[in-house]
């Protein structure tokens, strides 16, 4: 075909091709799957969208296994609820195929897994089905996951690094092994893996700054006790709350459960940044409120997460704005227990915590403490510019 013929017939060719594509079964299936997954993505809270989603799910789960990746594509933009509906459909399609001895589309699934633009939980789903049918693929896929936004995929990659570091102990210099463990540590986001890498590094003579790795804030000004008799104090606006968005005055006195309270500075030396009020105030006040204040110098305006671990009722303010309130006493404490999104401004940000102790007398109800870190949505520490 010469150029003039091509030019003459090109628009018509495109038109015919489009018509053929529009009415081809393949296109219809793709359109249909897109509509079905969109219907499921419309699921909202409190059962919103259930009726339509139930119909869509039936059609989706009946798709041939060749459409598995198209269904996985539908995870993109799905909320937590819709993601679970879609996962159920993928599992049903894949299980049906395996029951009928039909192979999964391994090559397409692999390509889907290593493409980081795809939804993290869809990639994880694809990965798990790939490993069910072909466990040998794991080694080749793991290097793609070291900086993964899917923390479960990242975990497998870090686990592999930890194993390799462990195996290298017998035939490598300690510095080399430490480097291997440090690489694992730098990518690890799960506490048990961070603990394991830290232990091995320190056993080999290396050092790890754990609070820095997590982004725990260590330096605080604290003031206590304010009244929390009968657990009534959490929503009482005591005077330190006036300082939620300004520089605290260390010389000023406040009237609390006892008179003439002043802010005092404290620095946590605990490995996970725990600030223990019972250690700071030996009277171990009960029915009492403590405040903790700190500043965070941010290099830019950025969205981060404040992650609090606290066994007492608590509130968090950022730059004077209340971010969260948790009226829960003595129901466990762990890292990242309460997570809130926090918009930092460039420069000085002020963080105020209110930590409320009640009057329970049981031995397990005496702790009065917290830990707070600043990180991104993957749990990667965000550090202040002056740290």
């Amino acid at each position: 075909m010469n150029l003039s013929i091509a030019t003459r017939y090109f628009p018509r060719t495109i038109a015919i091709t489009l018509v053929v594509l529009l009415y081809s079964p393949v296109h219809c299936v793709a359109v249909e799957i897109g509509e079905l997954t969109a219907t499921i993505r419309n699921i909202g809270p409190k059962g919103e969208g259930h009726v339509a989603a139930q119909q869509a799910w039936k059609s989706l789960a009946a798709q041939p296994v060749s459409e598995l990746v198209a269904v996985l594509d539908g995870f993109h933009g799905a909320n937590q609820l819709a993601t679970n509906w879609l996962r159920g459909a993928v599992d049903a399609i894949a299980q049906t195929a395996l029951n009928e001895s039909i192979s999964l589309p391994e090559n397409e699934l692999q390509a889907f897994v290593i493409e980081h633009d795809n939804a993290p939980l869809a990639r994880l789903t694809a990965y798990e089905w790939l490993l069910r049918v072909n466990p040998k693929l794991k080694e080749s896929l793991l290097p793609h996951f070291l900086n993964d936004s899917s923390l479960e995929l990242r975990r497998d990659a870090v686990e592999s690094l930890l194993q390799k570091a462990k195996l290298s102990v017998s035939d490598s210099q300690p510095e080399t092994v430490i480097d291997a463990y440090r690489t694992a540590l730098n990518h690890a986001r799960d506490l048990d893996q961070i603990d394991e890498a830290t232990k091995q590094i320190t056993d080999l003579g290396g050092k790890v700054d754990l609070p820095r790795h997590f982004g725990f804030l260590l330096d605080w000004h604290v003031i206590a006790p304010f009244d929390n008799t009968n657990a009534k104090g959490l929503d009482v606006d005591y005077s330190p709350e006036q300082e939620a968005n300004r520089l605290i005055d260390s010389d000023a006195t406040h009237e609390g459960k006892i008179p003439n309270l002043k802010w005092k500075s404290t620095a946590s030396e605990e490995r996970f940044g725990i600030v223990d009020f019972n250690g700071i105030y030996p009277d171990k006040y009960k029915g009492a409120i403590a405040y903790a204040h700190t500043t965070f110098e941010s290099s830019s305006a950025q969205n981060v997460q404040l992650r609090l671990g606290c066994i007492n009722a608590n509130k968090i303010w950022l730059n004077g704005k209340l971010l969260t309130r948790n009226n829960v006493y003595h129901a466990n404490m762990m890292i990242d227990q309460y997570i809130v999104n926090a918009p930092l401004k460039k420069g000085t940000n002020r963080i105020l915590l209110k930590i409320a102790q009640n009057e329970q007398e049981e031995s397990w109800a005496q702790r009065w403490e917290f830990q707070l870190r600043v990180c991104d949505t993957n749990g990667t520490a965000v550090l202040a510019i002056d740290r």
Binding site: P45, A61, Q80, L81, G88, A92, A331
Partner: protein, 413 residues
Amino acid sequence: MTHRIKLLTITALLLTLSPQVTAEDWNGFRGPQGNPVSSSQLPLEWDVEKGTNIGWKSKLPGRGVSGPIVVGNRVFVTASGGVNQQRLYVLCFDVTSGKQLWRRDFWATGRTYSHPTSANAAPTPVSDGKLIFAFYSSNDLICLDLDGNLKWYRGLAHDYPKAGNDVGMAASPVVAGNVVIVQIENQGDSFACAIDKNSGLEVWRKPRDPRANWSSPTTYTHHNGAPTVILQSGSGLNAFDADTGASIWDLGLSCGTVCSPLVVNNALYVTSGGITKLDLNSSAEKPKVIWAVNKLNANGASPVVLGDNFYALAGAIAKGANSNTGEILWQLRLKGRFWATPILADQHLYFINQDGLVQIVELDGDGDSQAASIVSVIDMGEPILGTPAAADNALFIRSDKHLWKVTNTTKVK
């Protein structure tokens, strides 16, 4: 009342509450009647090392303290895994062979933390014979058909974000009328609600006191014919019409927050200081106390009743009592700490402590002349906190890592 009439009454009640459940099924926490009594012939001896009387054993993908349930020829169990117990599993096995028929994976949408001995998969699932309702400490409620097809998925902590207890929640759901009912009592968003079985939509929701509670709801048919759910807590004892949520009665009786209420023959047994028995037969506005005995108690495992006999476990002390009077007839010291509710089958109580030690107590006689003695002790070798299921002449035990079928595989001489 003869045993035959009792059995017919129980069967009629069962059919009213869950039309698809058969007498052989063990469809939820403490079985189809909410009273863990089974007509199965269960073995008195087995050996996990030698495999004696072990029908099969299947590894689970995650942990859990939920009990298994049996519907037809299938056994279902939940599990949770992942670093923070965020992975939710529902598994289905063939009762006969132990073959895993299907597995479904989901991600928790609520709080997943718990005490190390517990797990996100703490509540026992429930079935109406056609659908499975799997519930988790994270307040995710999943409805699947028996073949694993998703009917709906609700994240109740997604809807009410302060719902949760980082020590772990454990109340098992129940099915009554056209709804599945969950009791979500904690220091945050505290409520009980009924979800339509077929649509997954909320039918009613009742605010509850914001205090931790692990007690499961139970059901009975009110004398006006309404399928009724009973909720107990430290703040009181309530009955609601299961289909409408209308209050049927409200008793200001402070109850225990771990054990669950028990209804047998229109009598209600609750922990309240000791054990209190209430009359549900009367047309009085509120149930009347029949007896209350402080020296009888239950603080982990829930009680069991058969005929004129009542059984409860407080700490490691098992007690048998006259169910008509509360008079204590016998007591027996067992070993260990208990969370699993005992199963009663063929004059034997099967107690399993949290270390996985099964202690089988033989009941000699009935009524006031009953005595009890330990006749068998079997180490399962793994922690067990979930209540077993009994069906098909087998005991289905969920340990920390495995699901077991224990049955008479050897001929009894």
